[in-house]
Amino acid sequence: MARTINRRDFLKLAGLGGAVFASGLGYRTGAAARTYSAAQDFYFVQLSDSHWGFSGPEINPDADGTLRKAVAAVNALKERPDFIVFTGDLTHSTDDPVERRKRMREFREIVSGLKVKDLKFMPGEHDASLDHGKAFRELFGDTHYTFDHKGIHFIALDNVSDAAALIGDEQLAWLRSDLDRLDKEAPIVVFTHRPLFDLYPQWDWATRDGAKAIELLMPYRNVTVFYGHIHQEHRHMTGHIAHHAARSLIFPLPAPGSAPKRMPIPWDAAQPYKGLGFREVDAEVKSARYEVTEWPVQKA
């Protein structure tokens, strides 16, 4: 890899988080692969579900401090990531539009302390579903977009601004048009908030028209999805497409269907910040493989 991460140091620091190798994607060899092989490998950081504005001492007595600790932990990484992406629920929902914007400004102020040149933001339903993404767009920009970075095509899909958890026909047409330009071998990374597949609709862990997006992505042989929403690590394959859910920065939730209710897991004073964290994703562009390292918010 071009970058020289001291992996041993990472793993030592991440003793509470652990590293997980994200499945390879069977990237095909040949001319198409060589097209991308000159690209430089890199890493980015995914943070998710900080729910700034949440209050619940029995759930997280450090609700005001956890995001700041995550910022410090990311800044403590030995090398700077190329970019950081927040995959939604930056703020906790409020019915008051003034308070919503206040929370978003406070969130933005805190994460401005991240030592990285490029911050990418996406909305979650807590940020965007009550006003169709209006406040989010005012403070953070578009709710769906694409960008290219060192040979990988990134697509941020908005499956929350429609309160019914729909991507919507218009955005799906936009996605189709974007994908039409790409080689079927192109490495593609998709960011969403909700899972695109029916993980557990009983808990609203789904996107109602997510199958349409997956259908559009399916002809592309190197697609990986990173999302949030479920406040825990989770890995799932739809055909050859890997889906990786990230931990939260406010409270963990139970494994899908493992509890009668989708209730936050209470704070464990013996293991503070347990289940919370962020991840770094090392992209090996040539093989379209991603090594995912999960980091705790704070060492015990």
């Binding site: 929902s93 019914a164 009983q202």
Partner: protein, 121 residues
């Protein structure tokens, strides 16, 4: 003359069919109706009991904003729009406790807006 006869026969056939359909509808046993109301952030009642194999209509009525009624384990969902009664037809084929929930984000308590269908033998 021949044309008139054809038209007459067609009308007779349509009338007969209409009467037949009406008779069929009248003869169909009416499904029991279970009524739910929903508002931010509560379904009432929060729990309903159904019988396995017995067809019912679940009616859902919103008292405030647009909600959803999603009962994935029994394969039904509908939007619930204020001013309209939403209806789903369901014939449970399995017993157990099944969660229904609002799946249209409706505010700060949305995530707690759910209820249970209990299906008994």
């Amino acid at each position: 003359m021949k044309r008139l006869a054809i038209v007459g026969s067609t009308i007779a056939l349509v009338v007969a069919l209409a009467l037949g359909v009406a008779a069929y509808v009248a003869a169909t046993p009416k499904e029991p109706v279970v009524h739910l109301s929903v508002k931010r952030f509560e379904y009432r009642p929060k729990e309903i009991v159904l019988k396995k194999g017995v067809a019912v209509v679940i009616e859902v009525e919103s008292q405030d904003v647009v909600h959803g009624f999603n009962l994935p384990d029994l394969g039904v969902r509908t939007d619930v729009i204020p001013g309209k009664i939403a209806r789903v037809h369901v014939t449970p084929q399995k017993t157990g406790h099944f969660t229904f929930r609002c799946d249209i984000f409706c505010g700060t308590g949305h995530e707690d807006l759910d209820g249970t269908v209990i299906v008994e033998e």
